[in-house]
């Protein structure tokens, strides 16, 4: 048994392709996404709004609205089981019990007409053979664990603040001790102080329960604090993936580079941020070649011609860029100063470890 576990990764997503059909248009939301996750590990999915991050995790749980969403191809193997070929009945047994999800907006994720206690209880009663009394005790324990007094079991979501609601959502997601937790921007809707509390709590729970986590965020600071590995998602593709520290220090893809540049530095005399010029491509009409080419300062004809594959640049560090892999950036950079990212600034990019980054981004968030 152990041997098979070692051979089979805990979660393996392979060539996942998801499309939405809207008004006769096919929107390619996720395009051949592959990644693995081992037990107890946290991977961060980073990218702009609309990059397809939420679609990826919702496909794992198979809760995408069908129609309009359709999983076109790919496999998702979780603990050796192929999730996409399971029956709806078998899948329901996994949802909430083995894999659970924390939703982005705590304000709308809870049902307004049921008490918070009932909503946590529901998951427990569905998956654990517990008497009502046992389940009640467990719910109270869960509430206390996320820092909500158990007496508030019988209160309704409208009686809670945003941060507390998110903690209820977290308690709900963790009530059955899931092996995999999908956290979709769990802190985006919260203010900074509550963000810190929630992240701290998630880190603690991860350690205590040994849960694997897929964390969606567009906040690189959160990635630095919580994740082990990072996958950068752009236009429904993973453009770069690797160990957190490695990726933060030696980000290879021009998009990753651009992301780091859109965070203010506290050390330099910066008066303006350097945004990535242009907009993400229309997912209904994606470029033929590299999806980032229209915005990329390094792009050439080769990039635009054919799709670029995700290749291993260094052990465990994957990147989807011909230029960076060919290590001919230096030659390419000449004469492209006016295009997108400021090359000089790219060269002077503040280097340092992920912990430095945490400090920077925390400070930046406090400034906000």
């Amino acid at each position: 048994m152990e041997e098979t576990e070692r051979m089979e990764p805990f979660l393996k997503v392979e060539d996942l392709t998801v499309q939405y059909t809207a008004g006769g248009e096919v929107i390619k939301a996720v395009n051949k996404v592959s990644f693995t996750l081992s037990k107890g590990e946290t991977i961060g999915l980073v990218g702009e709004t609309g990059a397809g991050k939420t679609t990826i995790v919702k496909s794992i749980l198979r809760i995408l609205p069908d129609p309009p969403a359709k999983i076109k191809s790919g496999t998702i193997t979780f603990k050796g089981q192929e999730l996409l070929s399971l029956s709806e009945h078998q899948m329901r047994k996994i949802r909430g019990s083995q894999i659970s999800m924390i939703f982005q907006d705590p304000m709308t994720a809870l049902n307004p007409v049921f008490t918070v206690g009932e909503q946590i209880l529901e998951a427990l009663r569905l998956h654990r053979k517990m008497s009502k009394k046992e389940a009640y005790t467990k719910v109270c324990e869960m509430l206390e664990m996320v820092g909500i007094p158990a007496e508030r079991y019988g209160e309704y979501p409208h009686q809670f603040s945003g941060g507390m609601k998110q903690r209820v959502v977290i308690a709900m997601a963790l009530s059955c001790n899931p092996a995999l937790l999908l956290a979709d921007e769990p802190t985006t809707a919260l203010d900074v102080t509550i963000q810190a509390q929630v992240l701290h709590m998630m880190n603690r729970l991860k350690k205590e329960l040994g849960t694997s986590v897929i964390m969606i965020t567009h906040d690189l600071g959160i990635v630095a604090e919580v994740c082990d590995r990072v996958a950068v998602v752009y236009a429904g593709e993973i453009v770069e993936m690797g160990d957190k520290v490695h990726l933060f220090d030696h980000g290879l893809h021009p998009y990753t580079e651009g992301l780091f540049h859109s965070i203010p530095s506290l050390t330099g005399d910066e008066t303006r941020l350097k945004p990535i010029k242009g907009l993400p491509p229309n997912p209904a009409d994606l470029p033929k070649g590299c999806k980032f080419a229209p915005r990329c300062p390094y792009a050439s004809e080769v990039c635009r011609e054919a799709p670029v594959l995700l290749r291993e640049a260094e052990p465990g560090h994957f990147v989807r860029c011909i230029k960076k892999l060919a290590a001919d950036i230096k030659t390419d950079m000449t004469g492209k100063k006016d295009k997108g990212i400021d090359i000089a600034a790219a060269e002077n990019r503040p280097q340092g470890s992920a912990t430095d980054f945490i400090k920077r981004s925390r400070a930046a968030r406090e400034v906000e």
């Binding site: 329901r92 019990s97 049902n111 998951a123 009686q159």
Partner: protein
Amino acid sequence: MIRYILKRLFTMIFVLLGVTLLIFTIMWYCPGDPARSLLSDDATEEQIEELREEMGLNEPFFVQFFDYVVKAVVHHDLGESYQTKIDVSTEIIQRFPNTVKVATLAVFIAALFGIPLGVIAAVNQSTWKDNTAMAVSLVGVSMPGFWFGLMLSLLFALKLRWLPASGFAGPKYLILPCVAIGIGGVGMISRQMRSSMLEVIRQDYVVTARAKGQVEWKVIYVHAFRNSLIPVITQIGSMFGHQLGGAMVAETVFSIPGLGTYMVNAIKARDYPAVRGSVLYVALVFALVMLAVDLLYAFIDPRIKAQYSNKKKRGGKKIG
């Protein structure tokens, strides 16, 4: 909560006073003379004048109005019908059970078919199920009740002889009129239910329920349903209120001795006490039904309940 109910009951007094004043004014300016219509055609002007005096019709407007209100409030007396010489309240009370039966059953039929039809349509949006359900409801909404009543009566009473065509002598007599009234309600309720449900099933908490591993029918009927009920309850409530006020058309088609026919006959004969009495009754019933609907909201949605309760208590509970 109790304070809220008392407040509502208190405001209802003013509503009823307003309604009385309004109906008094309308009847005052209405052409036609009850004294003249009571007497035969060959009655002399003196006889008519005498009767008017006797009926108190020659008194000034406000004297008549206050006289009526005082009698109604102090003696619970709504006056005698000019035509039948029977106490108006007695007649209303006699007819009330018939109207209640018809209204309740009709609304029940409308809700029983309308709600599931709407839910099915919403859950299967843009499929043949949705299209069929909406076509059925469109027919229901657009078909005139009296015509449908006549058709039903032709088929089931005259052709098949399964059900009685008219009268009111037992449960069997209820079926045709209630179906005739209910079908329009099915259309309205199902459309409302569909749109309300469509909005709710896109909510995040519905996805949350699915993500917990809940079975689909429970996701719909437990999580989404209760949240989508408010507009539907409002509609059912107002339909019930209207029906309690008497279903004139159905009562006429099926000759049911209900309040609708009573009111129509009273208006035709310029039977002032009967008109006032029944309008007042309709207003009262409608106000009470609406109060019940508002209270029902509180049971469905705890946020509304919190609004009804003491505001101080509500503010104190929220902790950041």
